[in-house]
C-alpha cells in the first residue's frame, strides 16, 4: 500500500465560544483505502459528527488536512456525499426530485436529460424506492426516507460516502433491513464508506475496520479494529461466528473501559 485513497492527517478541532475554548478532536489521523468500509464508533458527544463534517468539508479543521484521491478536500462537494442522521430530504420536492436535484447538479453537463432520468430511477431502484418516486418525503416512512437519502448520495457517484448514524432513528427491524441493503450496495458498487454509528453489532457486521474514539474533550482515535470476516456476510450465520463475537467483544470492551475510565477521572 503506497498512498491511501482518503487520509485524515493530524486533524485538530476546537470550538471557541465566548472566549472559552473547547478542544473536541486531537490529532486524529486515519488512512482509508479505496472500497473500504470504515465505521467510527464512540460515545455520544465525543466528536464523531464533527469529524465527519470535517471530511465532508462542512466544518473546517482547526489544524490538519483531509486528502482525497491526492487532493486537499477543504470545501464541501458532491465527491463526498453525506447521508445525514435525520435524512434531510427537502420536503417540498418529491422523492424523485430530491434525488434528481443531485443528479442534475453533478451530471448536468455530462449526461443527457433522458440519461439523468434513467440514472435517478436506477438509484431509486437500488434502494428499492422506485415505486414511491412521486411521493413527498412526508408521505413515506422513516426508513424509506433514509433510503432516499442514501439514493441521493449514491446517485452523485461520490468518491466517499459519508453516513452519520444513518439508521440511528429507526426501529431494529427496519435497521437490519437497511443494513443488508447497504451491504449489498457496497458489494455491488465498491464504494468507499465512512459511517458513524452507536451500534456495536452494526459496526462489526458492516465494516472492514472499526475506528474507536476515546471520550471527549480532546477525543482521539483510541484503537482501530480489523474485522477479518469474509463477505458476503449474513447476520444469522455470524451470530455464532467466533471471529464476529471476538470483534464484538473487543469493541464492547473498548467502549466499556473507556467509559468507566472517564467517569472515574471526572
Amino acid at each position: 500500500m503506497t498512498k491511501s485513497y482518503l487520509s485524515l492527517e493530524l486533524i485538530d478541532k476546537s470550538f471557541e465560544r465566548g472566549g472559552v475554548r473547547t478542544e473536541v478532536l486531537k490529532q486524529v489521523s486515519l488512512s482509508v483505502d479505496k472500497g473500504e468500509f470504515i465505521s467510527i464508533i464512540g460515545h455520544s458527544g465525543c466528536g464523531k459528527s464533527t469529524l465527519l463534517n470535517i471530511v465532508a468539508g462542512l466544518t473546517q479543521a482547526t489544524t490538519g488536512v483531509v486528502l482525497l484521491d491526492g487532493r486537499v478536500a477543504d470545501e464541501p462537494g458532491p465527491d463526498r456525499a453525506v447521508v445525514f442522521q435525520n435524512h434531510s430530504l427537502l420536503p417540498w420536492l418529491t422523492v424523485y426530485e430530491n434525488v434528481r436535484l443531485g443528479v442534475d447538479k453533478v451530471f448536468g453537463s455530462s449526461k443527457s436529460k433522458a440519461e439523468r432520468h434513467d440514472w435517478t430511477m436506477r438509484n431509486l431502484e437500488l434502494v428499492q424506492m422506485a415505486h414511491a418516486a412521486d411521493k413527498r418525503p412526508s408521505e413515506v416512512s422513516g426508513g424509506m426516507k433514509q433510503r432516499v437519502g442514501i439514493a441521493r448520495a449514491l446517485a452523485m457517484e461520490p468518491k466517499v460516502l459519508l453516513l452519520d448514524e444513518p439508521f440511528g432513528a429507526l426501529d431494529a427491524l427496519t435497521r437490519a433491513h437497511l443494513q443488508d441493503q447497504v451491504m449489498q450496495i457496497h458489494a455491488e458498487l465498491g464504494n468507499t464508506v465512512l459511517m458513524i454509528t452507536h451500534d456495536v453489532d452494526e459496526a462489526v457486521l458492516l465494516s472492514d475496520r472499526i475506528v474507536m474514539m476515546t471520550n471527549g474533550p480532546s477525543a482521539r482515535i483510541g484503537e482501530i479494529l480489523d474485522v477479518p470476516l469474509s463477505r458476503p456476510r449474513r447476520r444469522i450465520e455470524l451470530a455464532a461466528d467466533r471471529t464476529y463475537l471476538k470483534c464484538r467483544e473487543a469493541v464492547l470492551k473498548f467502549l466499556y473501559e473507556r467509559h468507566r475510565f472517564v467517569e472515574a477521572a471526572e
Partner: protein, 297 residues
Amino acid sequence: MSVTNLKLPQDAAPPHAARVIAFSRTARPGASRRLPAALMTALTNLVPLLVTLSFILVAWQVICSAPDSSLPAPTRVLEESWELIAHPFYVGQGVDQGLFWHISASLQRVAIGYALAAVVGIALGALVGQSALAMRGLDPIFQVLRTVPPLAWLPLSLAAFQDGTPSAIFVIFITAIWPIIINTAVGIRNIPQDYQNVAKVLRLNAFEYFGKIMLPAAAPYIFTGLRIGIGLSWLAIVAAEMLIGGVGIGFFIWDAWNSSLISDIIVALIYVGIVGFLLDRLIALIGRVVTRGTATA
C-alpha cells in the same frame, strides 16, 4: 481491498422487495367516507352563521326603523340603493359607474402596488435574512418606517408623482411591503442547517440556492407576510382613494357621503368587506397550494 468483486447472491433481494411494497398500502383507508362528513361540517359551520346574520339584520331593522333614525334600516337600504345593487355593471359618465367598475379600479391599483411590494419585499427580505451585514444596516430602518401609517405617505407621494393613481399605487406598495420583508427575513433566518448543508454538498450556486432551497423553505413565512400585506393594501386603498378621487371604491364612498347617500355607503361597505375577505382567502389558498408538503418534513 477487493470488496468490489464480492457479490451478494441475488436471492437475497426478493423478500425485501415484497416487504417494501406492503409498506405503502397502509396510508389511505376510508377516503370514500369523507364526503358526507365534509357536508356535515359545512352545515354545522353555515347554520350558526345564518342565524347570526338574521339576528343582526332583525336588530338593525328594529333599531333603525324609528322615523328620526340617522341611519337607514336594511329595507330602506334596499329601497334607496336598488339601482346600485341591481346594476353593478352600469357604465355612465366620469365617476358615475356601477360598483363592479369601482371595485375593479381599486383592485387594479392594489394589484400593481401589491405585486411590486411582493417582488421587492421578498428580495429585500431575502437580503436581510441572508446577510448579517444587510440586517444590521437595513433592519432598524425597516422597523422605523413600517410604523408610519399608510396615509401619511400619500402627501409625499403626491408631491413626488404629481398624479393620483401612481400615488395610490405607491401607498399600497409602501403599506404592503413591510410585513413581506420582515416575514421573509424571519423565514430565511430559520432555514434549517440541514438544508444549507445539502445545498453545500451539492454545490448549489447563489441562484440555485435562492430558487431551490431558500424560497421553498421560507415559503410558509413568506405567505404569512403576503397575507398580512394584502389585508393592509385593501385597508389602505379605500382610504387613499378617498383623497385622490377618480373611479374607485374609496372615492365612491366619499362621494356618496358628500351627496348624503348613506344607503349607497352601506352597500359599498358590504362590497369592500367581501372583496377584502376574498383577497385574503385567495392569498391563503395560493399559499396552501405552493407550500403543500413544507409544513411537515
